[in-house]
Each structure stands twice: as C-alpha cells, then as structure tokens.
C-alpha cells in the first residue's frame, strides 16, 4: 500500500481582480504552490452574479495544498480579506502522495 500523508487543502473563492492578493499571501506563507480554477456564476447575500468577465467583476477559485502549520498561517493572513472583500475560504484534510512536496 502506497504511503500517504495528511495535508490541508485550502480553497479560496476570490475576485479575479484580487487573485494576486491571495496568491501573494500563499507565497508569503511559504507554501510551495497554488492552482487557479475558473468559476462561472454564483449567488450570495449580495445577490446573483454571472457573465461578469467583460466587466472584470468575476471570480476564481484559488486552491493550495499545504502542511497544517502553513495552512494556519495562510488562514490567519487571509482572514481580514474574507470580511472586507467577501472572499470565501474553506479547508479540509486530504491525503497526498509525495508529501515532501507540500
């Protein structure tokens, strides 16, 4: 059986325009990498959004896998943005192979 280790997977829903603030925070937390995936539309307390790419008010998912301690640092760093910019952050434990990468 292949050996796996436990890491945190963190996903942040952020404005495309503000993506760099999130990835900069990831870099500063000393995490090795991140991946951005597209988002089509959504609904929240501020209503429904979609088709906002032309207006530059669309969103993306930024996801990163990190050891628990670094994940903590990142969550701490992002917390103010969550409130201020309306980002959403969720994280959970995942098993990864080649744990030394993260």
């Amino acid at each position: 059986m292949i050996e796996t280790v436990i890491r945190k997977r963190i996903e942040i829903l952020a404005d495309t325009q503000l993506q760099k603030r999130v990835t900069d925070a990831i870099d500063r937390a000393g995490i090795t990498g991140w991946t951005v995936t597209p988002v089509t539309s959504g609904k929240g307390r501020d209503g429904h959004w979609r088709e906002e790419r032309v207006m530059g008010t669309d969103k993306v998912f930024v996801l990163t896998i990190a050891a628990e301690d670094k994940a903590e640092v990142l969550a701490e760093a992002l917390a103010p943005m969550l409130t201020k910019y309306g980002f959403i952050l969720s994280m959970w434990d995942v098993q990864v192979i080649r744990g030394e990468r993260f």
Partner: protein, 328 residues
C-alpha cells in the same frame, strides 16, 4: 426628435440591443460565451483605437484637438465631484459607494460612444476622428477623482500607495489597448491600416451588433436580479446622463467643435463606464458594491443612453450649433 428616434430604432446595432433586452425579459437562456464577449470588447477597443489613430495621423494635432482633449480630461476629472454630491445626499449612499459610482459616471463607455458615432453618422453628423483620442483620455481621470472621493487623498488603505494606485489605473487593460491601438494607427497611418482594414473596419458593425445583443442580455438580467437599487438610485442613473450630456455638449460647442463632435463629447460625459471602471474598482475599492455601480451604469444608464439620450444629445448639439435636430 421623432425622426431621430425612428433612426435610432431602425439601426441594426440598436435592434440587437433591444433583442438582448427582450430575450432576457422573457427569460430565454440565450447567452454569449464569456470568452467571446471579452474578445469582442477587446476587438472593439483595438478597432476604435486604430481608427482614431489613423484619423489623427491624417488630420494632425491642431488647436481644436488640444482643446477637445483638455476639455475631456477636465470634464472627466470634475464630473465625479458633482455625481458624488448627488449620490451621497439624494442617493443616500455611503462614501465608498458614492465615490465608486461617481468614478463610473465620470469615465466613459466605449460602446456607448461607438453606438453614438453610428447613429450620428447616420444623421450626417459624423464626429471628428480625434474624438477617439478624447475618449481614451477621459477613461482614467474619473477613476482617480472617484478614488480620492472614496478614500481621501492620503489614505494608504491595504498598504496600497498612491503610486500603486496610479500604476493600476494606467495599466488597466482597456487603457493600454485603446492607447496602444491609437498609437499603432498613428504610426501605421492610412497605408499601414489598409492591410488590416477588412478585419478592423469591415467587421466592426457586425461585432458591435453581437456585443450589444450580449450587453442587452446582461443588463436586463442584472436589472431583474437587482436588490441594492432604490428608486432614488434609479432616478440618479437617468438624471446624471441627462445633466452630464447637456454639460458636455455645451462645453463642446463652447470650445468650437462641430455639432457631431460636440454631441460626441456630450455622449462621453453622459456615458458611464461598465468595462474599465468596474474592474478598476474591484481592485482598488473592493469594499464598494458592484450590485450598485454595475446595475446603475450597465442596466439603467447604458440602455437610457443608447435608446434615448443619444437622440436628445444629438438634437441639443444641433440646436446649439443652429441646426434642426433632424437629418438635413
């Protein structure tokens, strides 16, 4: 006035916009893929930029051009102060949102301008080519004054310095593409432009049709979903383009522009940005609510300008310059 309205409503460009509005209102699932819409907006900016650059390469830069540029920049910078006052008092918005909305109304909408040029040309009042340069020059100043109004001058929120703010505003993709294409048009001139003419000129109106179809869909859907929009804000979104349009037109006539160009300046003042400025606000003022500024500029002011106000401004420009308000 009446003939003008008829002309507006038989232009295919406007008809596609109306089709988009209607399709959204009957809750059709018609939608243009976002990558395509984005590409169309880039195409329109590149094409209009080149066209303006070629025009200026032919006409040269004289006193009229310089005063038009100056008038545009000053208007763009000052209009947000008036808008801010109205939004804060009558509109009951807070400082941040008032500043954000004011930036939209001071800046310009490329598509409104382009549609106005189509309609004015159809009325034998084609604006001068250098008005594209005026348009490009009016994109950024209002963003600066809007941000100043929203955050105060010295405020280094988010650790963002004034320098960073300037950088972000002036490297905004719309501004870079519009100015870049303008310079390419000037450098290449008519000869260089000939080579790419079929792509950038022949296709222009057709792309504009499809883009306006999409904007009609998006504007109407946003309108139907709107939550944050009060009747006060709705009124302001009609009042501001009327006032700004009249001011801009009078300013244009005042500095000696012909009727078409003065009307174009009026339309620039009347139009509210919904491409460059929302993106800039999301970056520089993320606390402001896109549900307010986008709905006002895109769902109310934009259709009002395209369907009604361009006609009013054109008639007003004709009146001020001694014309008749209808096609000669």
């Amino acid at each position: 006035m009446f003939e003008t309205a008829i002309q507006t409503f038989t232009s295919p460009v406007v008809l596609f916009f109306v089709l988009g509005l209607l399709a959204a209102f009957v809750r059709s699932d018609l939608a243009i893929p976002e990558a395509i819409a984005k590409a169309m907006s880039l195409y329109l900016m590149a094409a209009i930029g080149i066209k303006g650059g070629v025009a200026v390469s032919k006409s040269g830069i004289d006193g009229t051009v310089i005063s038009a540029l100056g008038a545009g920049i000053v208007a763009g910078f000052l209009l947000p102060f008036f808008a801010y006052a109205v939004l804060k008092s009558f509109g009951k918005l807070d400082r941040i949102n008032s500043g954000a909305v004011a930036a939209h109304y001071g800046s310009i909408s490329v598509v409104t301008f382009v549609t106005a040029v189509e309609i004015l040309t159809g009325q034998a009042r084609e604006p001068e080519g250098f008005m594209v340069a005026v348009m490009a020059a009016m994109e950024a100043p209002a963003i600066l004054s809007g941000l100043m109004l929203a955050r105060g001058l010295g405020n280094k929120d988010d650790g963002q310095s004034m320098g960073e703010m300037f950088h972000e505003v002036f490297t905004n993709s719309s501004i870079v593409l519009l100015l870049g294409a303008f310079v390419i048009g000037m450098v290449g001139g008519e000869a260089g432009f000939g080579e790419v003419q079929p792509f950038f000129e022949a296709g222009f109106k057709g792309v504009l049709c499809i883009f306006l179809l999409d904007m009609g869909l998006i504007a109407a859907r946003r309108m139907m979903d709107a939550r944050a929009i009060t009747w006060r804000l709705t009124l302001i979104a009609i009042f501001l383009p009327l006032v700004n349009g009249a001011v801009g037109t009078a300013l244009g006539v005042g500095i000696g522009l012909d009727a078409g160009s003065a009307a174009a300046l009026g339309v620039l003042c009347a139009s509210a940005s919904y491409i460059a400025v929302p993106a800039a606000m999301r970056l520089a003022l993320p606390e402001a609510d896109p549900g307010i500024y986008l709905t006002m500029s895109l769902s109310i002011t934009f259709p009002f300008n395209v369907l009604i106000n361009i006609g009013i401004i054109s008639a007003f420009a004709a009146y001020l310059t001694g014309g008749t308000g209808v096609v000669p």
